[in-house]
Amino acid sequence: MLMNLIHFVISIWVPLVCALIIVAVLPLVAGYIVLMERKVMADMQARLGPMRVGPHGLLQPIADALKLLIKEDIIPDEADKMIFWFAPLISVTAAMLAMSALAIGPWFQIADLNVGLLFIVGISALGIFGIVLGGWSSNSHYSLLGALRSAAQLVSYETAAGMAIVGGLLLAGTLSTREIIQAQNDYGTWFAFAAPVGFFVYIVASIAETNRAPFDLPEAESELVAGYMTEYSGFRWALYFLAEYTNMVVVASIATTLFLGGWLRPFAGTPAFNFLDGLPSVLMLGVGGYCFYRAPKQPVKVQKLFMVAVGLLMILAAIILAVPLIPAVGTMLPGLKPGLHGAFWFLLKVGLYIYLFMWLRFTFPRYRFDQLMRLGWQFLIPLSIVNVMGIGVALVLHRHWGWSHWTAFPLTTVLTLLVAGLLGWESEKKDKEHVFVGDA
């Protein structure tokens, strides 16, 4: 029986290694996304952001993690201890489990489930429990209110996000993440261009799903202290934070897989654009060159050395990415190019999506809670339902009546926007007399 077990473990070594990499690397990645957010916030506010810990603040996440680990662990007196201990774990487990059905490159996937995309959506929905139970077990008014508001927001926008995903799935014809990307390859363009309304609805719904601004009322500092996270300190708070940023990565990965072509490079099907294969190496060379350019201007010698080291790392990455392009290597190891370049394109798209999140956070003011719920139920859900109908019409036109998809899909996008505009106009007309929301 032990031999059976050992054989089994050896046969699943690829998913096991992928899982270990995700569990080990994801907290670090989440920490660096926090640093990226602070730097982007600083850039948009015309200042510099963290600069002290490490060159350009690159060691800031490590300092933050150390601080959180050695902080005092406070548990409120009347709190329900078992649930208080358990709630952050639910959030983190749900967020990390959702990463398991994602295909980061053609090589890097833990499990290619038949129902992969729906699995990710469903497991992210389980994260709501972490929030609600955390807020309730803290035995504090602010926590409970924040938790209930956050859960209500998540449930509302989950419906809209699900319908937007259905719009994309109609085009793909399958729920498995690997086959969705293959379908985009066969289709010609990314599904974001075939179903732009669905993509827009998904962007807005995913911002609300992760409690990001402008939908971050449940955890805004000026409104509810910190919502459901108020009574958590030290490592437990770090777990909630980790769960939130992992959720951002998951949601960005879903959008990348379904709407932005996953690991395909831009214009994957057309051989005329093969020069874009060199783009990853060029980008890495550019970043490395910038590091070398900034290295002499560092004030301290250690920071100079660090910048030179980072620059050399980028050059190394550029060389690794350029290796599969040599024809000899390409014929010997044909799996190397899709693997490496696929992972690069996927991570680049996820990074750009997260940059979009941050851009929106620092541009728009916060929505009030009733405006938030109204937006979710009365704007996004009708829009996504009309979108599903529109894509259905486009598919019928394309498959049964033989229209080319360059005519069918833009036409139905325009029709969807018209219908949605009419719906919105009608509800706006009614709302002119409706001044206070509390009169329901």
Binding site: M1, N4, G122, L126, V132, A151
Partner: protein
């Protein structure tokens, strides 16, 4: 061998969670154990190669219905009920009757097992993905129940909103 271990793991998790649901004093703990029981059931579905049902169970039951339960438990302040009797006055009769029903089912399964041949199920590789199969059958043969189910959900939504209003 491995699937026996997985089955017994999920089955034990489901049974232990179910017992804890029925015997806990604190209603929130009962709800949490019901969530684990539902997830264990979802695992059983996955082992039966019913992938669509697995994900429907996770999304709807564990992620929808149980969120509703937990919301209601939090809106209703039940600290008072923590200190009252948990089981009603005729608990012994109820227990006896439920065990009688259980015994009936046991006899039914035992007799049925020896009479009907529980043959080998179809090999897993011969099945289409469960989502496609369920979709085809659901929208062709069971279209009428599907539409009735959607009307039922509409009625339930209206009913729930009316029930929970302060002034009708």
């Amino acid at each position: 061998m491995l699937d026996q271990i997985v089955f017994y793991f999920f089955a034990a998790l489901a049974v232990v969670s179910a017992i804890l649901v029925v015997t806990r004093r604190n209603v929130v703990q009962s709800a949490i154990f019901l969530i684990t029981a539902l997830l264990a059931t979802a695992g059983i579905f996955l082992q039966l190669h019913a992938e669509f049902l697995f994900i429907v169970q996770v999304i709807l039951y564990a992620g929808g219905i149980m969120v509703l339960f937990v919301f209601v438990i939090m809106l209703i302040n039940m600290d008072v009920s923590l200190h009252q009797l948990q089981f009603n006055r005729q608990w012994w009769l109820g227990l006896l009757l439920a065990l009688v029903v259980g015994a009936e089912l046991t006899i039914a399964i035992a007799i049925g097992r020896s009479h009907t041949a529980f043959g080998e199920p179809a090999p897993a590789s011969a099945l289409e993905p469960s989502t496609q199969l369920v979709g085809k059958v659901l929208f062709n043969e069971y279209m009428l129940p599907f539409e009735i189910a959607s009307i039922l959900l509409l009625v339930a939504m209206i009913g729930a909103v009316v029930m929970a209003k302060k002034k009708i």
